[in-house]
Every structure is written in C-alpha cells, then in structure tokens.
Symmetry: D2
Subunit: 164 residues, 4 copies
C-alpha cells in the first residue's frame, strides 16, 4: 500500500507489560495502542500542558469528562492481526485516517507499523474503530458540528477491507 497523504502517523511506545507469556504483544494490548494513537490524534492537551509546549492535535474531538456537554464513545471495533509483534524498544507507528465521517459518528481505520516499514507493506494490525458523539447527560447521539466535519475532512481516506 502506498503512503497516503491524508493519514496521520502517530508514534506509540510499546510497553514491556504489553507482552504476554509467549513474548508477543497481547491481542488486547494492541487495542490499547490504537487507543493511545486515537487520543494523540484527536484530543487536546490540557491548557497547562499547552503552556509547557505540548503540541495540540491536528483536529479536536469532544472528550467528555466532568462538566462536558459532548462525549465521544466507542461503538465498535474490529482488528486483524496478520503478524505477531515482539518487544520493540522503538515502539510502533500507528497510521490512522478517517474512513467515514457520518452524521453523528466517525470511523477511524488504522495500520500498526514499525519504523522500518514506511510504506506500510507488512502491518502488525489492521483495525477500525467506530466512534459516536453523544450528549454527555442524555447519552443520545449528537450530530457532528459542520465546522468539525470540515476540519476532519483533511484526514479522510479509503476504508480498509477486512477478511472476516
């Protein structure tokens, strides 16, 4: 697969405790790596951290939490594990893009890569997360603001095809 200009390449460290007793990154730990990439891509640092030089994400989604009006929840995920990943001191690169920008939902597709594979030819995981924006109090879906939809278009890309 060629490098796609719209994707975000997020470096995510692998922890020793992500490995299971077979010495491979555990299947659920891989889902955690996707989560870290998603947070780095779409949720802002705190004002204090920005003041200290933290870099704001390229696009901002509502995070929820105390006092929030909107929250983003995970509706579904799917993931394929084509190869087993060992301990990488240099971590992984999670390549992330939006394969669908819906009315109240966003679909992120991912490839989990290593630094020696910039073309993304041998991913360790291929994955997808559907996120839904909700009203934090009522728990009901909320339409994505047009301004947010416009800013997210910069990260749009074609959907992955899954085998199963």
């Amino acid at each position: 697969m060629a490098v796609m200009p719209q994707t975000l390449d997020i470096p995510v460290p692998v922890r020793w405790t992500d490995l299971d007793a077979y010495g491979h990154v555990n299947n659920a730990a891989m889902v955690r790596l996707l989560e870290e990439a998603r947070i780095a891509a779409f949720w802002p640092p705190s004002p204090e951290q920005l003041a200290l030089g933290a870099i704001p994400p390229p696009a901002e989604l509502p995070a929820g939490g105390a006092g929030s009006e909107l929250a983003t929840v995970i509706a579904s995920q799917r993931i394929e594990y084509p190869r087993q990943l060992g301990h990488r001191r240099d971590g992984v690169i999670v390549r992330l893009w939006l394969s669908r920008i819906g009315g109240a939902s966003l679909t992120a597709d991912y490839l989990v890569l290593t630094r020696d594979d910039p073309e993304g030819e041998a991913p360790y995981a291929r994955a997808r997360t559907v996120m839904v924006m909700i009203d934090a109090d009522a728990g009901t879906p909320v339409r994505l603001p047009q301004e947010l939809r416009d800013s997210l278009q910069a990260f749009a890309g074609p959907p992955l095809a899954f085998r199963d």
Copy 2:
C-alpha cells in the same frame, strides 16, 4: 435472545483497573474479559492445579508455550459496545459459543452479560474472535484434529450479526 443450550456461561470478574477515567470498563479492558472467558473455556489447568481440584474445561485447545507442537493464535476480533459497563463487584457473565468450526480455524462468538440478565437481552458487548491453530515452530496453519472438531461440536451455535 433465548438462552441457547450449547453456550458456555463463564463468570469473569471485573477489576477496578478495568475502569477508565469516565468510570466505565475501558474498550480494551472488555477485550481482556473475552480473553479470560476463552481461556477458562478452552485451556486446561496445570496438572498440579487439577490435583488441587481445579475443574478441567469442557473442551481443550492447544495452548502453545515452551515445547508445544501446536499453538492457537488470534487472527481477528470484532466487538460492539451497546452499553457502558460500570464497576460490577459481581463481575460479568461471558456467554460464549462457536459460530464456526473451520478447517484450521475456530470462531468464537460472545455476549457480555450481567447476572440479572440470564436471557441475554441487554448485552454490554457483542463480540467475535477468530482463532487459528498453527504449528508452533513453522508458524503455519494446522488442520484441527477430527477428534477435537467432534468434541467442539457441542459448543456450536449460530453466528451473531454485527452492525458495522
């Protein structure tokens, strides 16, 4: 959904650290609950633990590990989160069955339920894991032995339909 006689209902404790900062079981932690259910369903205790009274699983899959000839690896997973799960001191019930017994692969479908929902009407997760049996040295798929296939038929059931 009616209770299906072929399913396994595996009680799985929820840990405090499965919760994220919003007070809900994290999306990746839910994948860990599935893994615990799968291990309880299909992998045997050690001989020492059996001697102490541990109950063998209803069907045994090859686990891999040092000296093993066969191993079972996760090829893919998918999961939907219809409702958010808080801290449950009584844990969850993972209802598990085999929706496909293939040549070298097994597909487990799951509902994550609570004890007050024996009918499985309001699951907290609906999920599927495709497992592939491999030769532990070569890493190549291995055909499931007929005897194992026969014993696994007792847990066969219809596949879940996923939305996305």
Copy 3:
C-alpha cells in the same frame, strides 16, 4: 506462620495478562492483585448489586468518587517477592489484615498465597499499603470516625517485618 483469626482471606483471580514475557506474574500486576483484595475487603457493592445478592464487605471505608465527602488514597506501598508466581487457574488467596489503625491512616499488611498453602508458609508476596483518609474537596487528611475505628479493630494484626 500460623493462620491468624483476624485476617481476611480474599480469593483473587489471576489473569493471563498478569503474566509477563517470562511467564510469571509481573511485579506491577501483583500490586493490582493487592488492590483487588483491598477493594473486596473494604468497599461496598452498589445498592443494585446488593439487591442482586452481592455480599457486603466486613468493614466499609469511604471510596470517594463524585459527590463523596471523604476519600481513601494510597500514601505508600511496599512489597517483597520471595517466589515467582505462574499462571494459576485457581487464582491466589490474598490474606489481609490491618497492622496499624492510625488517626487518619490505615496500614494493611498482606500475604499472597495459593490454595494449597493455608498456613501461609510460602507466600508469593509480602506487602503493605498505607491508606490515608482525606476530605475529597480539600485533599487534607481527615480523622477516622471512632465508629469506623472500632469496627476495623476486628481485622487488626501484627505488622510484617520486611527485609529491605
């Protein structure tokens, strides 16, 4: 060490993902097992869970969380790992007692045991947690109510001696 009548023996399941790549329960995962035991010992199930038959803990500490006036925070921990623990399908028994009931603090001592060692002669961990009760808003220490101190006396026991 003889069984002490004041101790609480809390069964805590071991998860597959508690193991690290050497096949042993990871040092930080062991700290999680202590936490699960502490929660089972001292924090109550929700009213809904009690209605479903959940068993209240023998003594209740303030948990904190939204709307709480008091919270219990961890001030310090220490742990020794005399032996390495593998995957136990029957989990561990965390033996827990209070080695000190202070003005605003409680000290819990623990032995992590297996079911085949009711005398506690070969623990997998020996540990201690100092908890401090605080005012949830101000973050300042709060004196333990006398009624709570009295009920906690039932779990008082002698302190462990640590090597380092």
Copy 4:
C-alpha cells in the same frame, strides 16, 4: 532536591488507561512507569533495532529469556505517592539512580517528575526497587561481574529516605 549529575532522566509516556476511575494514575500503573524507566535504562534494544538507530542504554543488565544464562528479578519494591498525577500528554520523567550496588543485587531509587519540575522538588512518586541477579536455570543468586559493577558506578547516588 538539587539535580544530581549521576542520575538518569528517562521520559516515560503516560497512557490514558493508566488512569483509574478517579482520573488519577493508578497506584499499580505508577509501578509500571518505574518498570518502563528501568528497562530503558538498563536493557539493550535487539540487534535489529540497533541497526535501525535505536540508542543502546548507558549500562546493560542481563535480561533473561530463552537461552539466557543470567536473569535479573525483582526482589522488592517500595513507593510513596506524595501527590496525585492526572493524565499528562507530555508524560513523566523518571529520575533513576543506583542507591546500592551489592554483591548480587542492585538497588534503584526513583523520583517520578514532570517536565516543569527539573529540580525534582515536587515528585509524584518516590520509589525503590531491589533487583537480584540470578542464574536463569538454577534460580540462585549470582555475583555481579566486576566489569558490570564498574560501569554501574557511574549511576550511583545517595539513597532516598522513606517515611513509612
């Protein structure tokens, strides 16, 4: 506390899932951050990763694993939590030094700091880990080679004083 020249300052990312339901880094997750720092400080990347530009650690300890003759195991840990740590997109700095280089053991002391506190005046954790080098087959302690002891002297520093 003044900056000590012998210490190693290891940046360690904080994950979203390190937070518990109160929005703070969980007490056991903090122990994981120490582990990540220790691994970065003392265990080498794989030859493949070195070839890709990974930086070797300033001193190397035996890691164990398949085929190893020596392994390093954790004998004990202690940790104090003076302040609660929230989600830091810029992670933490784990300041690490060796407070004791024994015959068969090493003691690492740590301060967990944030980037805005280079002087280490307001640590989020103060901790200590005692590691023992063992023969991987026999499980018995092994004397640290003199060459290793010499190279580790560069990281020697005074021991922390703990309160409890």
